[in-house]
């Protein structure tokens, strides 16, 4: 059964014009059980709730939101590292719940935030980058070496570093190694979890340029998790705004950035600080308290911080409204 699924995954990938989106989430949710104390009752934390989105081949989807909103949990589910509590994730139309994690790993690869902790300090770059090949039993030792050299050229790492250890590299070089490790299996989707937030701006620019070049060269699909909205604006095609585990606005980047419809998206965009000294610090219409995810507010979970709160916001759950190029979960549009 597992093998069947694996074969279909391969087959769907072979058809260039296939209709199925590269990556799709249908009603995906994930709960965690949290024990508050030794004797107290266990509580249910709904980290991600009812997320529906789809990413086409070659598209860049950015997931944005404050810390604790469920971005990383969603990413882990897309990587097959966590099983969704509800709903299903599809890669090229194939549900991944029954698929071996190694098969998922051939399609989806991650690049993590901090290149100082995501690389094993005791391994040389060669063994770091060739580990995925070893796990999947690809090639002989010589062939693997060749593939590592090719991928190093691609991410513009000098060949002489092949026997170096991560501590001999700069932050930007380490992040290139992390990207190379993700690319060596020739995956379709790269999942970047804040890939540049640990880097300096001049290095960030190099990495962003490289990610864009690689996307064009290898026809990659990116899921880009970030809280830096300027970077998101620069890279993304579509944007998904998350708040307290829910998708509250999702759609075309240009529309969302030029005219955000959800009050939270509005506040998030207002808080971007462009380097313009003639503007002051923005006053953001947003209450201070991020709500307790163990005890989320009733009705719309955003209502305690919302500037446009109405009577029914604290009572009724808003539903997703389709506004053409995007979807918004807010009572203002019902």
């Amino acid at each position: 059964m597992m093998n069947d699924a694996v074969q279909t995954m391969g087959a769907a990938g072979a058809q260039p014009g296939s209709e199925a989106p590269m990556l799709e989430c249908r009603g995906v949710g994930r709960n965690f059980t949290v024990g508050k104390g030794f004797f107290s009752e266990k509580k249910n934390l709904r980290a991600v709730q009812d997320v529906n989105l789809s990413v086409k081949r070659g598209e860049v989807l950015a997931v944005v939101g404050e810390s604790g909103c469920g971005k990383t949990t969603l990413a882990k589910m897309m990587l097959g590292l966590l099983k969704p509590s509800s709903g299903e994730i599809f890669i090229e139309g194939v549900p991944i719940s029954n698929v071996d994690i190694r098969q998922i790993a051939r399609k989806v690869q991650p690049v993590f935030q901090d290149p100082y902790s995501s690389l094993n300090p005791r391994k040389t770059l060669e063994s770091i980058m060739s580990l995925p090949l070893k796990v999947h039993n690809i090639g002989t030792k010589e062939e693997r070496r060749q593939m590592v050299e090719d991928i190093m050229a691609m991410v513009e790492l000098p060949k002489r570093l092949i026997h170096s250890y991560p501590n001999q590299l700069s932050g930007g070089q380490r992040q290139r190694v992390a990207v190379a490790r993700a690319l060596i299996m020739k995956p379709e989707v790269i999942l970047c979890d804040e890939p540049t937030s640990a880097l300096d701006v001049s290095v960030q620019a190099h990495i962003l340029n490289m990610l864009q070049d690689l996307r064009d060269e290898m026809n990659l699909t990116y899921v880009f998790i970030s809280h830096d909205l300027a970077v998101v604006e620069h890279l993304a095609d579509n944007v998904a705004v998350m708040y307290l585990g829910r998708l509250i606005e999702y759609g075309d980047k240009k529309d969302i950035f030029s005219n955000p419809q959800h009050p939270y998206s509005q506040a998030l965009l207002d808080s971007v600080l462009t380097p313009d000294p003639s503007k002051g610090i923005p006053e953001i219409a947003l209450g201070r308290g991020f709500p307790n995810p163990l005890d989320p507010p009733t009705g719309c979970s955003f209502h305690p911080r919302c500037a446009k709160i109405m009577d029914n916001c604290s009572v009724d759950n808003p539903s997703m409204h389709d506004l053409g190029s995007r979807k918004v979960e807010c009572h203002l549009h019902s």
Binding site: S170, L273, T274, D276, P277, I284, G289
Partner: protein, 348 residues
């Protein structure tokens, strides 16, 4: 270089630094972490020191607070906090200033608050230690300041531990703690880097409001150009241990002169002015090692307009006007022409 610190004018100079250098002994030799920087901050003014990691901006702040590690040695022509000469006072006298007349806000509120003490106790400790009053007055002051920094139900917060607060609240507590003794100088070292963007804006507004209210001088250290543009009165761009460009925020952002400043500005995606999807400008190469005898311009290995003259001698700060200067062998016009040339070739 002396033109940087003016006669003071109407407002009083709080911190005056001239030719501050910090050398650190490392196994390979002497590391010149900070090299002859000069600046001053007036009452109610914000000076932003902006630069990338390793450029010496945090060492600068530690040097002012006399918190340098033992291997580091400090030299300066002037280091004055108001009328106090910080170069000659004893350790004990310095300890009486620190936390009292000069306060510091650190980057990560998670590690800079003591996890095993209640917030109230940590805040009151500074106040009592500096002999500002007894516990009752300290508690009142703490409550008043927590309220000022926008923490509701201040009284109940005082008995909480740091882990019970969110990151934004913790940073507010840090700010309130810094203000306990009413400092005239506050050094903020990346105070918003660990926070969400929405919280960042709130904290920046808070700092600005408090600064106005208490008429503090603030040295704000950051790598985020967006933050600098919005909060700074004056800006010093730091690279490899020295200031490569100084000026008002308006001057530096509207007409950056030094190739490094121009490069930094081209690196950041700006919604609205940089077309999305286009290549960003970038600065090639790496920051040089600052160990041993240094000669010439420190930026020359990354500069697109490098000349023979850049390799030797000492490149000083060319003063253009009061507080405005840049550190380059080229003239202003040459710098700007070279900059637009670079931008054209990289396609930005």
């Amino acid at each position: 270089m002396n033109t940087e610190s003016g006669p003071g004018g109407a407002s009083k100079t709080v911190l005056d630094v001239k030719n501050l250098s910090v050398d650190i002994n490392v196994p390979a030799g002497t590391l010149h972490a900070v090299d002859k920087i000069s600046f001053h901050v007036d009452e109610g003014e914000t000076l932003c020191i902006v630069g990338e990691s390793g450029c010496g901006k945090s060492i600068t702040s530690l040097a002012i607070m006399d918190l340098l590690p033992g291997r580091a040695s400090l030299t300066a022509d002037t280091l004055m906090l108001e009328q106090e000469n910080l170069l000659v006072i004893s350790k004990k006298e310095f300890a009486a200033l620190r936390g009292n007349r000069m306060g510091m806000i650190f980057q990560d509120p998670m590690t800079s608050l003591n996890p095993v003490y209640r917030i109230g106790d940590q805040m009151e400790e500074v106040f009592i230690h500096h002999g500002k009053g007894r516990r009752k007055e300290a508690r009142e002051r703490a409550e008043y300041l927590l309220d000022k920094v926008g923490i509701t139900a201040a009284r109940s917060r005082l008995v909480q531990y740091p882990h019970q607060l969110s990151g934004g609240l913790r940073q507010r507590v840090m700010i309130a703690m810094t203000l306990m003794c009413g400092p005239t100088l506050v050094i903020a070292d990346e105070p918003t880097t660990a926070l969400d963007v929405t919280i960042q804006a709130q904290i920046l507004i808070l700092l600005k409001d408090l600064q106005k209210e208490f008429n503090m001088a603030m040295v704000f250290i950051t790598h985020d150009l967006g933050v600098v543009a919005r909060i700074a009165d004056r800006v010093a761009v730091m690279y490899a241990g020295s200031f490569v460009e100084t000026g008002t925020a308006q001057e530096v952002f509207e007409k950056p002169i030094h190739p490094y400043t121009q490069g930094l500005m081209a690196c950041i995606p700006v919604p609205g002015s940089v077309t999305s999807g286009e290549r960003l400008g970038s600065i090639r190469g790496l920051v040089p090692a600052l160990v041993g005898d240094l000669e010439g311009c420190m930026f020359r290995n990354r500069c697109d307009s490098v000349h023979k003259a850049c390799e030797t001698g000492y490149v000083g700060l060319n003063a253009l006007s009061e507080g405005r200067g840049y550190r380059c062998r080229m003239s202003v016009q040459e710098c700007i022409d070279a900059g637009t040339g670079n931008l054209l070739t990289t396609g930005v």
